[in-house]
Subunit: 386 residues, 2 copies
């Protein structure tokens, strides 16, 4: 099937208008956001499927109705997708990055930031924490448009968040690095940089949950030089974990005394599981070295909370927190690291289309994925790429 797109006046993509239809987005034409002087249009070639999509489409990260339903202009429907790889087809008049027409680029979960010199977040390599950050989908721009994602023919984003992709990594493999990969890279890098700089010991990283995020976290930690321990509930994914490069594997539901055996081990624990309830913080925090951190990257349902006794931290002065995405500089570092170390996420490709989107979303919802889906065939489907 090939559909035709009247770009740049319209983009085409797969959208829902009601969370009950989360598994079945329908082909829809949408009006893009008004093109700004720092915007870039990407003609999409491939797009990863991230668990964020399920939370957004089911509207589980909010107590309000879908944001698009109250957009000031543009579509009253929602297209998701924020692991975009594609080709630059339009560049705003004031773009300062070296983005070029025809260049292969990526776009992750953030589509805009203020990028002002006096923004303490943007001017310090922390634009993911810019107070004017706009997510790639389901997020409101200052002008009232609600952002639309990458299960689509095209996507429009601020140049700061449009990342050059080096040669040597195939698009369907580099797609999951745009959101998932960057989301784990940033806290791993920030969490062990001091140990790497000191050069006295190999950093030890624990990764909880071998799913879409976790399996990339294992590979990225290894590439950064860490000793990696994978935590999983059972031994079911043990063989996979070792193939991905983990040094050690702990099945918390099957290994006896794993917490005492691993006392004082880790410089960083990264929680890649999306729920908080399965994580026994009292046990896990004991495995951290003094003053090190347990960082979450998966976001659970809006009502799920961590419950922690202040006593838990007193045994090692550890801390717990969350990390959100990564910066442009970190994205570029990550892609270079991936190219250099031949990091290849385990990706199953699915052809874009209503059927393919449905299959990807429902199988991800059932956990039937090893370990990431990338939607492909965009050019054929949308009649683009010419």
């Amino acid at each position: 099937m090939t559909v035709s797109v009247n770009y740049p006046e319209e983009f085409k993509g797969f959208a829902i208008t009601d969370p009950k239809d989360w598994a079945s987005p329908k082909l829809t034409s949408i009006q893009p956001k008004i093109f700004g002087p720092n915007d870039v249009d990407i003609e999409i070639e491939a797009c990863g499927i991230c668990a964020s999509e399920l939370f957004t489409l089911k509207n589980e990260w909010s107590h309000d109705e879908l944001a698009c339903l109250s957009s000031t202009y543009g579509p009253k429907c929602q297209i998701v997708g924020h692991e975009v790889v594609g080709k630059v087809v339009k560049i705003g008049s004031e773009c300062k990055t070296d983005v070029k027409l025809g260049q292969r680029v990526g776009l992750g979960a953030q589509a805009s930031c203020c990028a002002k010199e006096d923004c303490s977040r943007c001017n310090s390599g922390n634009e993911q924490y810019c107070p004017q950050s706009v997510g790639t989908y389901a997020s409101r721009y200052p002008d009232g448009y609600v952002s639309q994602g990458g299960y689509a023919s095209h996507v429009r984003a601020h140049e700061q968040l449009v990342f050059p992709i080096p040669d040597g990594i195939e698009s369907h493999l580099v797609a999951p690095l745009q959101c998932g990969g960057l989301t784990v890279y940033s806290p791993i890098k920030r969490g062990i940089q001091d140990i790497l700089d000191a050069g006295k010991e190999q950093p030890k990283v624990g990764i909880i949950g071998l799913g879409g995020l976790g399996h990339m976290a294992v590979m990225i930690s290894k590439a950064l030089g860490a000793e990696v321990t994978t935590f999983s509930r059972s031994n079911a994914k043990k063989d996979d974990a070792f193939k991905m490069g983990t040094d050690k594997f702990i099945a918390t539901g099957e290994d006896k005394d794993w917490e005492s055996k691993n006392w004082d081990q880790f410089h960083l624990i990264l929680n890649c599981a999306s729920g908080t309830s399965a994580v026994d913080l009292d046990k896990l925090l004991k495995t951290l070295k003094v003053n090190r951190s347990f960082i979450n990257v998966g976001l659970p349902h809006v009502d799920e909370k961590f419950e922690i006794s202040p006593f838990t931290f007193f045994k090692n002065g550890s801390t717990i927190g969350s990390s959100c995405l990564g910066s442009r500089a970190e994205a570029i570092e990550l892609f270079e690291l991936a190219a250099k170390h031949n990091i290849k996420p385990w990706v199953e490709t699915i052809k874009i289309g209503e059927e393919g989107v449905h299959e990807g979303l429902t199988r991800l919802d059932q956990g039937d994925v090893k370990y990431r889906f990338t939607l492909v065939g965009f050019n054929e489907y949308f009649g683009t790429g010419k």
Copy 2:
């Protein structure tokens, strides 16, 4: 009144056997712990009153009975006090620190650690997190003795935790630094050291709660070169805070929009309040800069918990944790800093005795203290110091 002590066979102090009598410890003779080759005996001159005493005497940090009731040997009663200043009167045969007979020393909330070269905590300046750490009171030694504190004629402790005190600070003022001062110094130092080292900006520290711990935290943060903001519920202590050196003062119950006015301000927030319920983490964490920490030093009731949504951290990648006491090296640094910067905790002295102990504990329980009590007159009372 003068009582006589048959030191070294017995120490005398003020003890309870039942938490219902928390406010009225009685004069008691106790058998000290068996003297080890690395132990030091201190003839006590002064001892601060710490809020830990209330929690311990009321048994609010535990669901079990008082630990002393099941000690293997020694007293079946509990003496508290862990801000000890006194004179060294006995030194173990294998002591390696330069502790000297007659020297003025301090002892904080920790009385022992393994001090072994192969202990990852003891060999890295983190002996406060040694798995064999023994608290100065109500804590079980490996031999089954339950430790007894400093509202007493003498106290016995491992040399590693017996700190030399420089001249130029009076004993009743340096006493509160042994536990309270060190407990805030360690996380402040560790929390802003990277900013001090970088030398590009003045570290900004927020201190929550202007009580015993908080007022020392303000003075210590200033001495370390930070800009200090004190958070309090009302403006009642505002004048005091400025006298102590705070640069800014926020009354969270009275100032409007304090959290948006202070967005992205702090490199460190230190929570010196002992409860968790009064602290609005969702608002406070917003005032942290990217990837900085909110650290607790006050320990609440054993059943109090922090409840945090993972979403809260996503705006700035902040973390939350707790810090426990400080190391010997940090204690020595702190006393030098105090001597150099003339740090003087606001101390009201109370004469030791059943009456004085009762007054100190009940007034502290009622919050009737500005801002710390030190029990004094030990030599006169116990007939020591000769």
